[in-house]
Amino acid sequence: MFSMKSMTEPPTRQESRTQFNEDWAATVIGLVLLVLVIVGVIPPGLIP
């Protein structure tokens, strides 16, 4: 009736590594932006 094959294949090593890096990248960039906001480098009104 329909195939679920491609949805059950395990992720490739390349994808796992990309996801791993994206997690840390998101954490570092998110926290750096927050700190920049708190110390006033990104002041109110700068973000459009």
């Binding site: 329909f2 059950t8 992720p11 998110g30």
Partner: protein, 364 residues
């Protein structure tokens, strides 16, 4: 990139990723422009109620159609970093969560969140199992419908190592169900004659995406928006716990082959979505910061972090529109739609019952 690739194609691929990001940023800027100006151009509640996810997804889908027709979509898709944008947005969301405020001012929100997430998650997991869905898709659908939509699905996808197609499919379902809820739930709340606080708790407990909760809460009123936000934020904070449970379940039960050594703490760590740590850290930093400055100053500064969060979520929604493939919906068939629809109805009824029970005497 692999080491065997020649420099020319690698350079070309890099250029395509940069071009893809430029497309996402341009559509994100257009989204922000529409979000600010449409309510000015058109008077009325509907124009005001249309929030950035709607513009972002529609513009993303239009961009998707144009790029597909011109043969550019597949070349640029390396720049459509939905997961990175949402994860960064979630880390920044941590800055608007003061755990102390939630615990002291919104005890009922925590009880509602725990009861609702547990029952809806287990029901969805059970129904998806009965209909024979793949375990990873079960986890994604259950997390998405019971916690907070796309972001919970992304957190769950990291925990169970789901495929990108499964995530894209779940995100499509979340959006397909969340958009009508923005208008349906406030309308039902008015038909049932609910107080603003109960309506807010219902909206926050039932609607999946944080953006849609904000839009629906604002339609009902300021008090409803406040309660809806507290309930939603509580659910967001519970993502980490659900993710840890899913990580353990998949590492120790679902994917453990007979005779294989039990996965150790290292496996658990590999599967744990690290951005959850950023989310918690941002909450700790913001809570500490708000305790050291006057309230008005703190509010103004955290509002800047919220603006940045909205930008990242806009880029994520644009990317979802750009990445959307009808083939992934067609391939999965009708069963996940039945699972998601049934769980959404259960969520709607349970959230209403719990909101009435826990928030009837509550005032903001």
């Amino acid at each position: 990139m692999t080491e065997t690739q020649s420099p020319a194609p690698a350079r070309s691929a890099g250029l395509h990723i940069v071009l893809g990001v430029v497309v996402v940023l341009a559509l994100g800027a257009a989204t922000r422009f529409l979000e600010k100006n449409v309510p000015v151009w058109f008077e009325g509640d509907v124009a005001k109620a249309i929030e950035y996810p709607v513009y972002a997804i529609v513009l993303g889908l239009i961009g998707n159609a144009i790029l597909t027709a011109t043969g550019w979509r597949e070349r640029l898709e390396g720049g459509f970093r939905t997961e990175f944008f949402i994860k960064t947005g979630l880390v920044l969301l941590g800055a608007s969560i003061n755990l102390k405020v939630i615990v002291t001012a919104a005890g009922p929100a925590i009880i509602q969140g725990i009861l609702l997430i547990t029952s809806v998650f287990l029901f969805t997991w059970w129904l998806a199992g009965r209909l024979g869905l793949d375990d990873k898709l079960r986890a994604l659908l259950s997390a998405a419908v019971s916690i907070c939509g796309v972001s919970a699905a992304i957190a769950a996808a990291g925990a169970v190592q789901a495929r990108k197609e499964q995530l894209a499919y779940t995100a499509s379902l979340v959006i397909a169900f969340a958009l009508p809820s923005i208008f349906l739930v406030p309308w039902l709340a008015s038909v049932f004659g609910l107080t603003d606080e109960v309506a807010g708790a219902w909206i926050g407990g039932n609607i999946d995406t944080t953006a849609a909760v904000t839009a629906a809460g604002a339609l009902v009123g300021e008090d409803a928006l406040a309660v809806a936000s507290i309930v939603k934020v509580t659910q967001n904070a519970l993502i980490g716990i659900v993710v840890i449970a899913l990580t353990a379940w998949f590492a120790f039960r679902v994917e453990r082959t007979p005779g294989a050594k039990a996965p150790g703490i290292g496996e658990f760590w590999t599967r744990f979505p690290k951005f959850v740590l950023g989310f918690v850290a941002a909450s700790v930093i913001a809570t500490w910061y708000l305790g050291t400055v006057p309230a008005a100053e703190g509010k103004e500064v955290i509002a800047v972090a919220n603006d940045l969060r909205v930008w990242f979520l806009i880029l994520a929604f644009v990317s979802i529109g750009l990445e959307f493939k009808v083939s992934s919906l067609r391939e999965a068939g009708w069963r996940p739609v039945v699972v998601f629809g049934s769980a959404a109805v259960l969520n709607l009824v349970l959230a209403l019952g719990l909101a009435l029970l826990l928030f009837s005497g509550f005032t903001v």
